[in-house]
């Protein structure tokens, strides 16, 4: 991105040689829109003449807009005729008041020349690379021979172009530890390290991919994207029971559910022709939105907010697009129009949930011994409720309901209805009948069923059923459920994103700049989900392989994993990204295990992460991949690793969130009685994935190591390095307990007469799977010998759990 000073310098230089160099060297060449023109438009024009502001009625975002007359009656761009184009006249104007960009430096001679030639050549727009299908390029030829002929060929070709060489393979203990932490989030076993050192790397990779810990590790990544939490958010931030969905994610990764199916089930598992309770459970992905349980809120306002969040999250997770911009206005830079946002909104606008603290609708499940009875009761309750609805769905009842809505102005009448329905009821009733949607009318009938005289015996019957139901302690997981045909909502454009100000009505549709929905695709979430994973979608596979790449290498091929748009960063290896995307979709048939196996067995991944001062100077962020990845472990990996090497880790999977020790005062919420009850059993040592995640009081050691608070989708954790992190691993009781256990474990497993130095070496070995160097062992032994008895060894363990080489994936 050129800064303004450099532009000035360029302008001066160019002015001096303009006539000579520009006309002689560049005038014949075809101007490339994406690399030459768009950067100028983005940086200098679109701020005022783009998707947000259309100053003077002029936008240069889309070709049809740029070729249309502005408010002045003049045409910004006349293809083939720069001299007739108002744009040229204005950027060349001598009067600063007339000249564009207004109140800013003029365009440089070079920029003006690019625009002139581009317009003269016909002013063709090209789509941004990410909106074009990935190219099916074969891996490039390279001078040297290195690696697998796939990933490695792309990486090597770039290195050769830069005059660099790849690094040798990492030491086997380092590599074993790297791949185990990457694939399972846990350190390897000593046996696995041994097998890698004996040349059995690929077999160990397969073993790690088959380890149930694999699913737990990758679920961790997915939960950030899904904004998973065990609480509802907002003021009270009460508990939410959605952990069965988290377990579904773990199982899905472990079963290597193809990613296209993984996608469709989460977005539309309830709409599948072969829907089951498992696919319905998957839809809880989009019930991780926050519920506002504060008194007096407008449920429709917060329902709209959840739909908006579902649109934004879907687009960020699968399309790597900052679609959220278009909620209020056209996208400032990318080809998405304001009304198109609501076309996507319409897909998500037909679910039955509406910001109720009860989390309605839910999928109920029961512990093993209670399942039969529980399912019988759920069916019986549903049956009674169906009969209640039937009882209020007669013409006579229509009249009764109409009369009732007339009386609702009377607080006594309103008061008969449950408190949490009253606001919504008054809102619906406040609307003229002609303005009420199907969903509004269904809601009135639904509420009336709860107070009608005609349903009283049925309600009594239901009450009996509930009395038997609650003692079974049902787990009620919030899920998506489509509204029945008669109760659909109409979708309108929200003017400036305000749900109260309705623009034109819109139908479900994908943005016009993207490939269209197939004609026979259902216009619902299922159609959208299948479109996202269809071959024609240019973004999904790229965005996803980039996410997995980023998890392994610390930086994505596109560094802005959340933004593949024109304002995101360009890929470091564009051909590799495309090749991997197609490979993921075609060769691996969306198998994540297949993709990860391909990456971790590449020579690129297996490189040593050691770096020379020269290479560090040349490529500080390792964008060229002339060395292996080396970066600090995630919050989850740090906790799990400490528990694992100390022998404390519980490998128990699944279930309700747990409460390991945390400092007092973290859960301080005046509106909620929810208490942190520290586990004293196995749950104290469960993997970080299972720690209770409360949005307003997240687990402190997780926060210290850059975990997000999970209010909205987060694609990327920005890694930091702070003294607070040192305090966590030095002093957090969870890490202190792990250090003590590690010391005890080593002592237990060592020969009875082992000296302090031998024991210190054993602690290091237990954590890092190699022998310490003499210098390192000297330092550890001094610690071991300076404190009496077992205290010395405990401190050694404390030191080892804090070493850079231990908290880092090398």
């Amino acid at each position: 991105m050129p800064s303004r000073p450099s532009r000035r310098i360029a302008a001066a230089a160019l002015a001096a040689v303009a006539a000579l160099s520009l006309s002689a060297c560049t005038s014949g060449h075809e101007v490339d829109f994406a690399t030459e023109v768009r950067p100028i438009l983005n940086a200098r024009c679109l701020k005022c003449h783009g998707g947000v502001k259309r100053a003077g009625g002029v936008s240069l975002l889309f070709r049809d807009e740029a070729l249309a007359k502005g408010e002045s009656g003049r045409t910004p761009i006349v293809p083939g005729d720069a001299d007739a184009s108002e744009l040229m006249r204005r950027i060349l104007h001598e009067d600063p008041a007339e000249r564009m960009p207004r109140d800013d430096d003029p365009l440089t001679a070079e920029e003006i020349d690019v625009l002139r030639r581009w317009i003269d050549q016909g002013a063709e727009w090209q789509p941004h690379w990410a909106f074009v299908a990935p190219s099916e390029a074969e891996p490039p030829e390279t001078d040297g021979a290195w690696g697998d002929g796939g990933i490695d060929a792309f990486v090597l070709a770039r290195l050769e172009a830069e005059g660099l060489e790849p690094s040798p393979e990492a030491d086997c203990d380092v590599l074993a530890r790297r791949v185990a932490l990457d694939l399972t989030g846990l350190p390897p076993t000593p046996q696995q390290v041994g097998r890698v050192c004996e040349g059995g790397y690929e077999a160990v990779v397969d073993e790690l991919l088959a380890d149930p810990a694999y699913g737990e590790r990758w679920a961790g990544m997915w939960l950030d994207l899904a904004r998973y939490a065990d609480s509802q958010g907002f003021e009270k931030d009460g508990p939410r029971s959605i952990w069965r969905w988290r377990d579904w994610v773990v199982t899905s990764f472990n079963d290597d559910k193809p990613f296209d199916r993984f996608t469709v089930e989460q977005l539309a598992g309830d709409l599948l022709p072969d829907a089951t309770d498992e696919t319905r459970l998957a839809t809880a992905f989009h019930r991780n939105t926050m519920t506002n349980d504060e008194g007096g809120t407008d449920d429709e306002e917060y329902r709209s907010a959840t739909v908006i969040d579902r649109v934004n999250t879907t687009w960020e997770v699968w399309q790597g697009s900052t679609f959220a911009c278009t909620q209020c206005h056209g996208h400032p830079y990318d080809p998405f129009r304001h009304e198109e946002y609501y076309g996507v909104y319409a897909f998500f606008n037909q679910t039955a949930d509406w910001d109720q603290t009860s989390e309605f609708p839910t999928l109920d499940s029961f512990d093993e011994g209670r399942r039969a009875e529980g399912e019988r009761l759920v069916a019986a309750i549903a049956d009674v409720e169906a009969r209640m609805m039937e009882a209020v769905s007669t013409p006579a009842m229509d009249a009764e309901i109409a009369a009732w809505t007339q009386r609702l102005g009377d607080p006594a009448e309103t008061g008969r209805v449950q408190t949490f329905w009253q606001n919504e009821l008054l809102r619906v009733v406040g609307r003229p009948d002609s303005m009420r949607s199907g969903a509004d009318r269904a809601f009135l009938r639904y509420v009336y069923a709860e107070i009608a005289d005609a349903t009283e015996p049925l309600r009594k019957e239901r009450g009996e059923l509930y009395r038997a139901y609650w003692p079974l302690e049902p787990v009620r997981t919030p899920v998506l459920r489509e509204l029945p045909a008669g109760a659909r909502r109409a979708t309108y454009v929200f003017d400036r994103g305000n749900f109260l100000v309705r623009g034109p009505e819109v139908a479900p549709a994908v943005p016009a700049s993207m490939p269209p929905l197939p004609g026979d695709a259902p216009r619902n979430r299922l159609g959208l989900a299948e479109w996202l994973v269809s071959d024609g979608n240019p973004l999904t596979a790229r965005v996803l392989v980039n996410r997995f790449w980023e998890q392994l290498f610390g930086t994505g091929i596109v560094e802005t994993v959340e933004d593949f748009g024109t304002q995101g960063l360009t890929p470091s290896h564009p051909e590799l990204l495309d090749w991997l995307a197609i490979r993921f979709r075609e060769h691996h048939a969306w198998s994540v295990k297949g993709l990860l196996r391909e990456i971790v067995t590449s020579a690129t991944y297996r490189q040593s992460s050691r770096v020379t001062p020269d290479l560090l100077e040349r490529d500080p962020a390792n964008r060229l991949l002339a060395r292996g990845p080396r970066f600090r472990l995630s919050a989850e990996q740090l906790r799990d690793q400490a528990l694992a090497v100390s022998g404390l880790l519980s490998r128990k999977m699944y279930g309700r969130p747990v409460m390991p020790p945390q400092p007092e005062g973290i859960w301080r919420n005046p509106y909620s009685g929810l208490q942190w009850v520290t586990a004293t059993d196995e749950n104290r040592y469960r993997r970080a994935l299972y720690t209770f995640w409360r949005r307003t009081g997240p687990y402190p050691s997780m926060m210290a190591f850059d975990a997000p608070s999970r209010e909205v989708c987060v694609s990327r954790r920005i890694r930091t390095n702070t003294p607070l992190q040192a305090l966590v691993t030095l002093n957090d009781p969870a890490f202190v307990e792990a250090a003590e256990a590690l010391a005890e474990r080593v002592k237990r497993e060592s020969a009875p007469a082992s000296g302090a130095r031998d024991l210190a070496a054993a602690v290091y070995r237990a954590a890092l799977f190699r022998e310490p160097s003499a210098t390192k062992l000297d330092a550890l032994a001094e610690v071991a010998e300076s404190s009496p008895g077992d205290e010395g060894l405990r401190l050694v363990a404390n030191v080892v759990l804090n070493l850079d080489e231990f908290v880092t994936k090398e």
Partner: protein
């Protein structure tokens, strides 16, 4: 505090630097030695100056100790900054920008001409004008207009420079807060405090150079990115300190580990990490070594710095502090204690100023008044207290939100609403500065008769940043860091020092 905890803390404080130094048999290098001998003396005169000649992600080793106190480009007027950020954007029209004409127009429909081409966060259609929801008086010798919602601030009016025509590019909270603190509305740029410590180093190696204090549990809208270090080394990021409970989580050593043992463990960690750095070459390891040393020092000094109970009763009365509570008042007093100890940059975040009028807590006639009460006494006390300690001359205090609010009433429901509010407005609003080289009793910038548009003395957020850096002794165009092929700076590609307000 429980009895054993209290004894523990006393023991901690009793551990003198000299004593601690004695526990090092082999030493952990220049950085640690500096801690115990006094960084200033050891490194006096060896600074290289912050001219941005370092390389991105390059070595931060012993040759260029990243926290070394350094001389800026020219003699600074301020050595430290306390930035009081009122997250949510307080209404200038109820505090400083007195508009009798707006009172006259109260309840009338906004003329269409004012709405043309304008964007609002929430206002739709044609709103009504809303007169000032406050009474105003001229205060001090300078005669600054201050509303009666801020009776205490009125007492120190003559210490303050008011910037009445601030403006921002952004009118949503998170991007606007990011712009205010990092110079860019997008994530990933270093914050002002990070730039300050990068440029100046820190005067007290035992405390973080850049401290963040939040009133209440809420982060600013843009989260911790507002005080992140962006592409600068992470050693420069803001450290959040809690004003209740353990001031910094996990500050206390585990049971049974005494200070000498902790010193030995930190030393061993550093030795092994240095050896490892020699093997693998990753500069991040050097940062980690520095962070462990800082953690150790923080364990000693933070509890002392954060202990408000040490303050005499009259100081508590002055600020309205209650030790042990989380409040803006406590944080203000903490800010004074921190700058007294050499902390370079203190960011306070108060929240709840987003007075849309959609509910009581965000209404100008309810929640807004609470916000004024929560902050007025302490903000005024901070100025007075710094002054009486002789610190105000070299400490810059900045107060403000991320943008301002409209002269129009926001009525989202369109119905009768007992709550009164205003929408986001980024074209003019008021901030103020005091101490550290700015004029006393001065007002810069003027808005039109309804407080809708700036008429003169406009100050963009980048101009404010350029001015703050100038007061710290930097040419904002030269305090740079190379990243992704070009030099980046706090003020992006603009920024003008507001020379008119310099004392």
């Amino acid at each position: 505090m429980t009895r054993p905890e209290h004894e523990r803390r006393l023991a901690l404080q009793a551990m003198t630097r000299r004593h601690f130094l004695g526990t090092f048999s082999t030493g952990v290098g220049a950085a640690a030695l500096a801690t115990f001998l006094g960084a200033e003396r050891v490194f006096a005169g060896t600074g290289t100056g912050a001219t941005g000649t370092g390389t991105a992600g390059g070595s931060l080793g012993a040759a260029a100790d990243p926290l070394l106190p350094r001389a800026p480009h020219f003699a600074p007027r301020a050595k430290r900054v306390i930035f009081l950020h009122m997250a949510g954007a307080p209404s200038q029209l109820e505090l400083f920008d007195y508009k009798p004409e707006l009172q006259r127009l109260n309840g009338q429909l906004c003329p269409e001409s004012l709405l043309e081409g304008k964007r609002f966060a929430f206002i739709k259609g044609v709103p009504k004008m809303l007169g000032p929801q406050a009474t105003f008086r001229r205060r001090g010798q300078s005669g600054a207009w201050i509303s009666d919602h801020l009776p205490h601030l009125a007492e120190v009016a003559d210490e303050i420079t008011f910037l009445k025509a601030m403006h921002s590019d952004q009118f949503n909270h998170a991007p606007a807060q990011l712009l205010m603190h990092t110079g860019s509305p997008r994530l990933g740029r270093p914050s002002m405090g990070s730039w300050a410590v990068y440029g100046l180093g820190t005067e007290n190696r035992n405390l973080p150079g850049f401290v963040v204090l939040l009133s209440g549990a809420n982060q600013p809208d843009a989260g911790a990115s507002v005080y992140g270090s962006g592409f600068l080394p992470t050693i420069y990021q803001g450290v959040q300190c809690r004003s209740e409970g353990d001031p910094v989580l996990f500050l206390s050593d585990p049971e049974g580990v005494d200070r000498e043992e902790r010193a030995r463990t930190i030393e061993a960690i550093a030795r092994i990490n240095r050896e490892h750095h020699a093997e693998v070459g990753d500069p991040e390891i050097l940062t980690r070594i520095a962070q462990y040393e800082l953690a150790f020092r923080m364990q000693m000094e933070v509890p002392d710095a954060m202990n408000l109970a040490e303050e005499p009763e009259w100081v508590h009365a002055m600020y309205g502090t209650e030790p042990g509570k989380t409040s803006f008042a406590n944080n203000s007093l903490l800010a004074r204690r921190l700058v007294e100890r050499g902390v370079r940059f203190v960011n306070l975040f108060h929240w709840g100023w987003d007075s849309h009028g959609a509910g009581a807590s965000e209404a100008l006639n309810v929640g807004f008044l609470d916000r004024c009460r929560e902050t007025d006494r302490a903000a005024a006390a901070l100025i007075a207290d710094l002054k009486q300690r002789g610190l105000l001359d070299e400490t810059l205090v900045v107060w403000g939100g991320e943008f301002g609010r409209t002269p129009m009433l926001e009525n989202r429901s369109g119905q009768d609403n007992p709550f009164v509010g205003r929408d986001h407005h980024n074209e003019c609003y008021t901030m103020w500065m005091a101490g550290g080289g700015v004029k006393r009793g001065f007002t810069w910038g003027e808005t039109d008769e309804i407080g809708y548009q700036a008429v003169s003395g406009r100050v963009h957020v980048h101009d404010l940043q350029a001015t703050i850096l100038h007061l710290l002794g930097f040419d904002h165009e030269r305090l740079v860091f190379p990243f992704q092929g070009r030099n980046f700076r706090l003020t992006d590609v603009s920024g003008r020092v507001v020379r008119e307000i310099l004392a």
